[in-house]
Amino acid sequence: MRAYHLAVLAALPCLIPALLSAQGPDGPRIDSPFRSPIQFTDEATPPPIPADVTDDRRVARNYPEQPPVIPHNVRDYQLNLNTNRCLTCHSRQYTEAVQAPMISITHYVDRDGQTLGAISPRRYFCMQCHIPQTVAQPLVPNTFHDIDSMISRPSDGGAAK
């Protein structure tokens, strides 16, 4: 009997996935907004990688504090302790030749409110906040309204209290 038990135990790892996949389309699904509804034993075909937006056109900010997005290609841009490719165009002294927008003066202020002569270390790594865009479609609908559309929205007369 002991050998029989051992044999059952050894077969379990093979049997469980077989049982799960035998449950058919009504089996457990993964319900996540980040992936299509498929069996977790199946492999989904990933969608093609979307192309970068590199049209050099500035994009309006959705709210005033939003870090502006990057409208150009940033492949192979080196951004580390040795060098900062972004600042070779966007820092104050280099904007004229390349006509790049200068980084905001808030980036020269350190956390104690002191204005420095160059970019503050806490603002050095640009792509922590500023990111390039792709042509990918949103996976879930976005219901965000900016402040202008909120103000111009007709009032409900104080009905919702």
């Binding site: 150009h72 290609n73 080196q78 580390n80 060098t83 165009c89």
Partner: protein, 219 residues
Amino acid sequence: MRLKLPEFLLRPWRTLSSPSRYLSLGFLTLGGFAAGVLFWGGFNTALEATNKENFCVTCHEMNTNVYEELKQTIHFTNRSGVRATCPDCHVPHEWTDKIARKMQASKEVWGKIFGTINTRDKFIAMRRELAEHEWARLKANNSLECRNCHSAESMDITKQGARAARVHEAYLFTGQRTCIDCHKGIAHQLPNMEGVPPGWSETASGKGTIGHWLAGAEE
């Protein structure tokens, strides 16, 4: 009084200047020709063998540092699959310049034997100096190795991004700058770039190597 040459110099000269005694003229000319083909062919084959990427990356200094970095960049992986190998950028294609560069490279053999950059830390510590050598070389020959593939005449700036087109028109086509002034670190990681202004900056317009300490001193 005539200067008497020593015997060990005179004897080979007499042998060379007198007619051949045992070997036929045909053997000497044809044999010389065949030997010449063998030696010259062998020399060029050996030269070509040391001018391949496989040869470069047999040294771990190249293989684990700069070659790994190259693999990430557009000069190794891109949509069309055309790629640059080490000698495409680092060895001149013209024969005379190539031989000159190969002789310079004997210093690199010295460095290999004595382990100048045989660890990652040593390599990073020397990176600025090594990079400045390459910047100076490309600056001096007007970025010849870039232009072997990227010619300004064939460059259609309407196909470029607006930024690139504007800067190329202002600086490249007018000859004010050369490729390496702006395109540093396109195939490898950069060293500490402190004091190296970008190619389009006004401070970079000085003579000599961009970012060289002499460039600021002349003003």
